[in-house]
Chain length 208, copies 2
């Protein structure tokens, strides 16, 4: 689904000087794709629908992206790539940094407008292995990696024990959060986030 390479690079992504007009089209296409997938779900999303909502011809979309999955992933990562490049804050206080970021993330995921397109993509990924590979590779993995890196920095600083598996530790923080949101098994409150972070970190500290 996203394996075919795009026949041409979308403006502003992989080099070339985008004109202001094509940058406006790109942003309109991303906004249309995110809004539509939240409204109709992944299965009913079409390139035609995105083009019509964005006010562009569908050939404009096909020139830059080979599939709806490719448009959506670029739309999501247009913002997240920057966040991920920065990594998590590192004030030297691991608990405070994790709580700060996860509280803000909880606020985002409690916002219906933010969460609808993300849920549509997560559902499509859970359902379909090919969508899943792209979703995990482009969005979930980079999101987990910034936590793994922050935990590794804490490990080097002696705040986390040397024998801790930081990848599994990152999942101990992130998965209960994601699971509550995706399966609706509990509310994403600041209190939950704080308890989760404290309880995970108390097991990671060096002993003795």
């Amino acid at each position: 689904m996203v394996s075919k390479p795009a026949p041409d690079s979308p403006p502003g992504s992989a080099g070339g000087t985008p004109t202001r007009r094509s940058e406006r089209s790109r942003r309109a296409i991303f906004d249309a794709a995110l809004a539509l997938v939240g409204e109709v779900g992944y299965d009913k999303l079409t390139i035609e629908g995105i083009a019509s909502r964005a006010g562009v011809g569908k050939q404009t979309i096909y020139r830059w992206w080979p599939s709806k999955a490719a448009v959506l992933l670029d739309a999501f990562t247009a913002d997240s790539d920057e966040d991920y490049a920065e990594g998590l804050p590192d004030t030297g206080d691991l608990a405070a940094d994790l709580k700060f970021v996860l509280r803000a993330t909880a606020d985002e995921f409690n916002d219906p407008a933010f969460q609808a397109p993300y849920r549509a993509l997560a559902v499509a990924g859970a359902n379909d292995e090919e969508v899943s590979r792209a979703f995990v590779g482009r969005l979930l993995e980079p999101g987990i990696r910034v936590y793994v890196e922050r935990l590794r920095a804490a490990q080097e600083a002696g705040e986390v024990a040397a024998d801790v598996d930081v990848r599994v530790a990152a999942e101990m923080v992130l998965s209960p959060f994601s699971q509550r949101w995706l399966m609706r098994t509990g509310p994403l409150t600041h209190e939950f986030v704080d308890t989760l972070v404290d309880q995970v970190l108390r097991g990671l500290r060096p002993r003795g």
Copy 2:
């Protein structure tokens, strides 16, 4: 979707003496529903399709269940209710008990035949709030609860610190497992299960 009460109780569930014939029909309907939903997904599952695969009339199904969601949930819980009633093993060694159960669960979820219908229901739940309520209430919550109870028993035995939030602790064990499976972010190996259990439990032990 599952809010309408069933016009009649399915045989063998809520009392009444089922005849052997209707018990055979019930089992055939459950098997057909689980097989079909794994093949075609939740959206394309129909009562007609289940009836045809089970070799019963569709009125037989409508007599006992108001919707396809109700059939599916009964099909899943026909087996899980018994497991949940028993609870987790309690040998007095919390780590060993959790690893034992989660390794077996990993083997189940790595089996394509077992996981396909469960994935279809999880996807439907992630997508739709009404399906979600039934899925969480009938399957996920009872599944989490047996872990909460096992952790509480360990807390009473002094193996887990008194100030631990056992609900969040249960999610720290279960969610990374579920997330790896549902979003395909990593393999469900015995090694992963063991690392996860050890790393969670090391934070729960009484201090000093």
